[in-house]
Point group: C2
Chain length 556, copies 2
């Protein structure tokens, strides 16, 4: 496997073998690279920052749900290390092209496209796709480069280097609806004047396992384990939206700018409603966010006219653009999601951002038209759009708002920290900032006891998973022991579960060390103070995990 | 001396004796209070933050130039501890009213005025002065409360809680042209819904020294020392603008967004030009920024029509709104200064903020009309005005600019760090962020050697001075030994020079400890990376004081 370095200031591309012999992929590769070569003190939008794109260890193989791709660097949103994780078709294709990591450095004078084929890597000027909505730009790129490509692209938000910018990745249908969404990785790409990466793996062989017999058996066993459990079936049927009833029921559904933990009108935005509308309009559930998924929990949403509107309405989007804004019109949420995908902005951060505007009278809960218009401002690049596109913390600072739902500069996602206290610990401590994928904790949610330990275990496992390219949701309630035989057979190594856990620990240590050098240390490992005093209905919980225990998180 | 606590949420005012027996004043009082009672983790705009106003130890006495007033709290701009230092008439009056410190807590429902008289302290609703320019509002307040008052007031910027908001203090003529300008202290006051503090010391006796004979002798000796030196005379004659030729000559005059260290047209904005215009138009040099000043280095500037335009055109303003923006029209600079004073924003931060707009084509160097129009946007409170009024770092983040002249979120003032390397160390290490009053260093400016030690000594002395209410400039090249006899005689104590230095050290330690708890530690003690690589003409210096030496700064 190779490392491709694209130095855009010089227009120089080099291909070299990856220097380490042990398997390092995905988030682990980002952590490795930032530790060895990244600068913690560089400005995230300066030439000195790097954009790292790394498929997981099992990408490009027949391992189920193994195409999650890691995109990272120093975050324009948090100022710390960042890995944003995304589905779509790019992960598998990159791996089949033998690319262990793509490192983008410097800054081009003109907007560029990086074209990756079997045996060739080239930069081309981006031309007339600048300024376009991601959907339109991807159409143009397919006209230019053919239908078989996978595209990684930034929208108008990333071009403007807004801190809430994503890197979109096309799905199986070629739509730019999967996003490496958090932490502003799109702004890093924009600051390099790299508009898109076009990946064509035509003619590449599939990756070969070192022990192909054992690998085939391990894959078979993993697929069986996934498909025999009830969780995969539920996810396939309801999508991540299935969590809405559960979170609403336990009072952990962020509603009305995190003022409530349940939404009166949750039934208008939940999985049942989504299934019902899709049935009536020709949309679909059970869609894969990436090829080779054993669960397929994604969906395609059609509008009232029966035509494609957006994909995919995930739990986080439905809650943060729905309940958190008091909006129960699923069509309005779908239009907002489509706008966010087109502009290349994160729906979680956007939901937090619009929510806080209620504090100063700039947004009324439930006003979907106003929410859409505010997202349109981001599209226009107006001064207000630039404020909103910079995320919730900058929006609050600019507009004089002090009640901010964010940790380390990143908006808090759709599981309430106060009524899911273990998850609150994850938000507080993750080197990635408040994040929904870094370490879920669902046990004993209203008790402050034991949550630091639970969060630690969960974060270690999730972090290790992010090295593999495997989907958290697919493997969520599986034992990591399902995973190790695949990795071992593919690479011809003999890693134990303890090794897997140790890899997660080492990654967290690297991320923590980078952040401390970047000026983000223990003092930033805390939830906003108001979460410790303001009671969240209906549970009336406050966040009361002792800070001293949280401060002990990294002692492992 | 008393401590007045105004709890605005409850509308409760208490007067209590200050609990400590040893003399603690000005910046030292802010450091003491924030250490003992402040919360490092509170949001600066939340009710939990405090606004502290503290006269120096010698305020309200006949000690020369002793009325500098400290205004502080947790900074909305830097997120750390903040003391902003200001002249005007308030310091002396507060001290004569027996007020050692005024602590404003909580947040009122409606805009308030705090009225301090001999024997009474009261809150009143602010009424029709909300939204007004500081000059107009002060006229109204004098109509309401009489001509003898001193006023501390926030402008429209502070009302909007913009991070670059000042607290203005009226001068001897009653004009709101002296500003506790840095760190956004006006936004703290705005977040408490406190529009103004009206101070009337009518009928209060002057403060009595414990040993009045010795105090009179010490004051006489200090005045003689000041007036016998050449520096006081120079300052009186040329004002702080006298530094322009010096800084320009040594290449340390920030010009064109810190791209140059000298300004071709410096003679159009220097002291000679100021004196010439004032002579022709009826303005004046040699004006006191506060009563009882032994130097009087301030000025009053008249426009081309011969009428008052602004006061005072100080070095920092002339450079940051002049050379740094490529503007050599002193009238344009004066109008900008007047606008900044009216809105209640800092001219240094504003100069840095407008300067970076050049990077993205929103401002051309030399375009005074555009600069004025951009300041007007801040006045309008438009989205662009809110961006610009939030200071240079937020402006850069919102607009996607990565070359930011700021440390700890605060814009770098008008002595170039690269060609005044000792000063650069001060910018990097001061707990106050990049600041022109925390520790000047002029020795061997282009050498990286010995600058940490020089900055440390300078910062310790300056910090201690900020406890006394004495003006740095007046006493700049005097030995602190001039000062101690005054403090000792007034308080009946026996502090040595070593005690004075130890006070400065202890204050810095307190500030540092607060900042570390607030999440601002060693990783933030650094200049922007581009200052280490980008050469500054005409000296072509880069900042090359080794970071390891800088990291050793607080080992004292």
């Amino acid at each position: 496997m190779n490392l491709i370095r694209a130095q855009l200031t010089q227009g120089r591309i080099t291909t070299e073998p990856f220097p380490e012999s042990k398997p390092i992929g995905g988030r682990a590769l980002i952590d490795y690279w930032m530790t060895e070569h990244g600068s913690p003190t560089v400005h995230p939008l300066s030439e000195g920052n790097v954009l790292i794109i790394a498929p997981g260890l099992l990408a490009g193989t027949s391992a189920p749900s193994s195409g999650r791709l890691s995109v990272g660097g120093k975050s324009p949103l948090t100022g710390g290390i960042k890995e944003a994780n995304v589905g779509g078709t790019a992960g598998h294709k990159l791996a089949r092209l033998g690319i262990q990591a793509l490192i983008v450095e410097g800054k081009a004078e003109e907007w560029q496209i990086l074209k990756l084929n079997a045996g060739s890597v080239a930069l081309e000027t981006a031309g007339d796709i600048i300024g376009l909505d991601n959907y339109v730009a991807c159409e143009r790129l397919r006209e230019r480069y053919g239908d078989k490509i996978s595209i990684m692209i930034i929208g108008p938000a990333g071009e403007r280097r807004l801190a809430n910018s994503t890197v979109a990745v096309t799905d199986v249908e070629g739509r730019p609806c999967r996003h490496a969404a958090r932490g502003g990785v799109g702004a890093i790409m924009g600051a390099k004047s790299l508009k898109a990466i076009v990946i064509d793996d035509t003619g590449t062989p599939s990756r070969k396992a070192v022990d192909s017999g054992a690998f085939t058996a391990a894959v078979k066993s993993a697929v069986e384990a996934i498909q025999s459990g009830p969780y995969g079936t539920l996810l396939h049927h309801s999508g991540t939206a299935g969590m809405i009833d559960i979170d609403n029921g336990r009072g952990s559904l962020p509603t009305h700018n995190h003022h409530q933990g349940a939404f009166e009108k949750f039934q208008n935005i939940n999985a049942n409603r989504l299934i019902e509308l899709n049935k009536a309009r020709g949309g679909s559930m059970g869609h894969g966010c990436m090829p080779g998924c054993a669960v397929q929990c994604s969906n395609i949403f059609h509008g009232a006219d029966g035509r494609y509107l957006t994909a995919s309405l995930e739990y986080e989007t439905l809650v943060m653009l729905g309940a958190n804004l008091g909006i129960d019109d699923m069509d309005a949420i779908a239009r907002m999601d489509r706008k966010c995908d087109g502009l290349g902005i994160d729906t979680i951060e956007t939901g937090c951002t619009l929510g806080v505007l209620n504090d100063i009278g700039l947004f009324n809960f439930g006003d979907g038209a106003r929410a859409e218009a505010l997202i349109d401002e981001i599209g226009k690049g107006s001064p207000m759009g630039r404020i909103l596109g910079s995320g919730v913390e900058i929006t609050a600072k600019t507009l004089g708002i002090s009640r901010i739902p964010a940790v380390k500069g990143q908006g808090i996602p759709a599981h309430s920290a106060r009524s899911m206290k273990g998850w609150g610990v994850t938000y507080a401590t993750s080197p990635q900032g408040a994040d929904h994928t870094t370490g879920s904790v669902v046990v004993d949610p209203l008790s402050p006891s034991g949550q630091v330990e639970r969060s630690r275990t969960s974060q270690i496992i999730n972090t290790a998973f992010d090295a593999t390219g495997l989907c958290h949701l697919t493997f969520l309630f599986k034992n990591p022991e399902t995973v190790m035989p695949m990795v071992n057979a593919f690479y011809g190594v003999d890693l134990s579960l303890a090794d897997f856990m140790e890899m997660g620990k080492e990654m967290l240590r690297q991320e923590r060390a980078f952040n401390i050098k970047a000026g983000i240390g223990p003092a930033q490992d805390r939830l906003p103070e108001w979460m410790r005093t303001e009671h969240l209905p209906p549970t009336h919980a406050v966040f009361d995990v002792p800070q001293e225990e949280i401060d002990d998180f990294f002692n492992f």
